[in-house]
């Protein structure tokens, strides 16, 4: 039930003389559109010209970062795959061939068609290995091509590392459990001492 005090009576606006003569108001409007006719256009010739994306945190296609030796930075911890709300990340881990980490991704696939570009994987990654790039023109001829594997994601890093440098300093020399490195005390013993 609408109460009387809630009702606002709106008076009809009265037209001014200029508005009742139509013509001055029409001329006014025509001038506005005339100015826009010759104004600088807001749109660009897209495939030839591209707009600079000013946002550094644009969420486009993913990339897998490389460390300073060119190896994949990912340690196959599955944090991103767990965080992903649409389950588009598929990782198969294997024992790392390098002494400074335990695991590395033998397979790392992202289904870009399934991805919703929410950036949760980037948030979840403990070593800043997975990042989203400003690349947004994602095209292919088939669904299979849209499943990006590890090589393609690393290539994406090579393409975009100048456009968007890797944000945080790389974390290397992770404290490894067990005696993987010959003739060296484990890192956790050093920190304990």
């Amino acid at each position: 039930m609408i109460k009387d005090e809630d009702i606002v009576v709106v008076e009809e606006p009265q037209l001014s003389a200029a508005e009742r003569w139509y013509i001055p108001q029409i001329a006014d409007g025509m001038l506005v559109t005339l100015r826009h006719l010759f104004k600088k256009k807001l749109t660009v010739h897209y495939p030839e010209q591209k707009r600079d994306l000013v946002v550094g945190n644009y969420r486009g296609v993913h990339r897998l970062n490389r460390d300073d030796q060119g190896r994949v930075a990912c340690v196959a911890c599955f944090m991103c795959a767990t965080a992903c709300p649409v389950n588009c990340i598929h990782i198969e881990a294997d024992e790392a061939p390098w002494p400074d980490r335990e695991k590395y991704p033998a397979k790392f696939e992202i289904d870009e068609l399934r991805c919703i570009f929410c950036g949760m994987c980037e948030e979840a990654c403990p070593v800043d290995a997975i990042e989203l790039t400003p690349v947004h023109d994602l095209i292919s001829l088939s669904r299979e091509q849209m499943i990006f594997d590890k090589e393609k994601l690393l290539e994406m890093y090579d393409q975009t590392k100048n456009l968007k440098p890797r944000k945080n300093p790389q974390i290397t020399g992770y404290p490894a459990t067990g005696d993987r490195r010959e003739g060296k005390p484990a890192d956790n013993e050093e920190t304990a001492a």
């Binding site: 009702i7 409007g29 025509m30």
Partner: protein
């Protein structure tokens, strides 16, 4: 013998050739008006508009600013599926777009394109036909334009299409009257119904274009031309927010394209008509080659170019207005016609008759003064009569005051 007969009929042969040329140029002009419409729409909205479609990459990656767009559009329309719904009145459904397009094209027959031309020893009119009643012909054919709209709306067996057709009828009926009055002013002043003679009457010694003599009549004709061609702000028959697509909702493929093209053909005819009546047709003062005495072939071409240029300017104005003004509501449309334009037209007629009575129908200084007086009177009257935005007039009974629940707001 046939050769001799043809030589005797030089005007007939010339007219036939001209008709072919005019129809061809006209169809091209219609196609490119649509491109211009899209360009100007884009520019007004700070976009770039269609600038991609070129000519099959014949010239590398240069795409001619999108000039191939009309060809692409036409091809698209031809290749689309042509649907005739089950419940339509089939003969009329097919007749509708045909009627509107033919009617839009035949109006061109009496437009004078370039004065007279000397070919051999024959002096020929650069005009497809030059009947005594040229002006009445244009008016009659122009009014038939609504016929196709009504047929299309009626035959569609769809209430929204039908509404579109009905609106078109009411609108045309209302705006024919001020249009007729505006034209009558010119007829009274020049005493001519031949369009070529009306053009010539604007370029004698001491003569000026009719727009200087009768600016208010010119204004009246411009406004009514917008209504006659159903252009914004008078595009009631196809008000898409209210009527889905208006009278052409049920049409597809080339039948729809005919409606679409006919709108632009109508606009071009209307523009040509306006230029002939008020802007001196093919004439520009003091420019050599554009005077009535110039009958060389190159002068004819120059005159045709000038005429085409004037029509193009008017088309740009049409489009510019479309992307500026919002649509009038139906009651506002009627109010403008019957309370604004018709009284103005009647005043102009009375004034023109007065000028005729004192024997100076063409004295442009005096007609100009008279026009200013009429304009001031009209503005004074409108300034004194207050009006409301919603169109509810002061002589209507007051609505009951809104004091309680909305259920009581039902009108008087």
């Amino acid at each position: 013998m046939i050769v001799e007969w043809v030589q005797g009929q030089a005007q007939l042969v010339f007219s036939c050739l001209l008709a072919l040329v005019v129809v061809g140029v006209m169809l091209l002009g219609v196609a490119y008006s649509i491109l211009a419409e899209r360009w100007i729409a884009a520019w007004v909205q700070d976009r770039r508009g269609p600038n991609r479609a070129g000519f099959f990459r014949l010239f590398g990656s240069f795409h001619f600013w999108g000039l191939g767009q009309p060809i692409a559009d036409g091809g698209k329309f031809f290749l689309k599926e042509d649907i005739i719904p089950d419940n339509v009145d089939k003969p009329l459904f097919i007749l509708g777009p045909a009627t509107i397009f033919i009617v839009a094209l035949v109006g061109f027959a009496v437009i004078p394109w370039g004065g007279q031309v000397q070919i051999g020893d024959a002096l020929l009119n650069v005009q497809v036909a030059n009947p005594d009643i040229g002006l009445l012909y244009v008016l009659g054919v122009g009014s038939l334009g609504v016929y196709g709209v009504v047929l299309g709306g009626y035959a569609s067996n769809n209430k929204y299409s039908f509404f579109g057709g009905i609106r078109a009828t009411a609108q045309m009926l209302s705006y024919e009257i001020p249009m007729g009055l505006a034209i009558l002013v010119v007829v009274l002043a020049t005493g001519q119904l031949r369009l070529e003679e009306i053009v010539l009457s604007q370029m004698g010694d001491g003569d000026v274009w009719n727009v200087v003599r009768h600016p208010l009549a010119c204004f009246l004709l411009v406004v009514t031309l917008f209504a006659e061609t159903s252009r914004t702000p008078f595009d009631m028959p196809e008000a898409e927010q209210e009527l889905v697509g208006g009278f052409h909702t049920e049409y597809s493929s080339m039948k729809f394209a005919l409606f679409f093209l006919a709108e632009y053909a109508h606009m071009i005819t209307g523009s040509a008509f306006l230029m002939v009546l008020f802007f001196g047709g093919w004439h520009i003062p003091f420019v050599p080659g554009l005077q009535p005495g110039d009958t060389a072939w190159w002068a004819m071409l120059l005159k045709m170019l000038v005429m085409a240029g004037k029509i193009a300017l008017m088309m740009v104005f049409y489009i510019w207005v479309r992307w500026t003004l919002p649509r009038l509501r139906f009651d506002q449309l009627m109010r403008l016609a019957w309370k604004g334009l018709v009284p103005l037209g009647l005043g102009l007629i009375a004034f023109a008759l007065g000028m005729l009575y004192i024997g100076k129908p063409q004295a442009w200084v005096w007609t100009l003064v008279g026009n200013v007086v009429i304009l001031a009177t009209m503005l004074g009257i409108t300034a004194l009569i207050p009006s409301r935005v919603t169109g509810r007039q002061y002589d209507m009974p007051e609505l009951p005051p809104r004091t309680s629940a909305p259920a009581s707001i039902g009108g008087p």
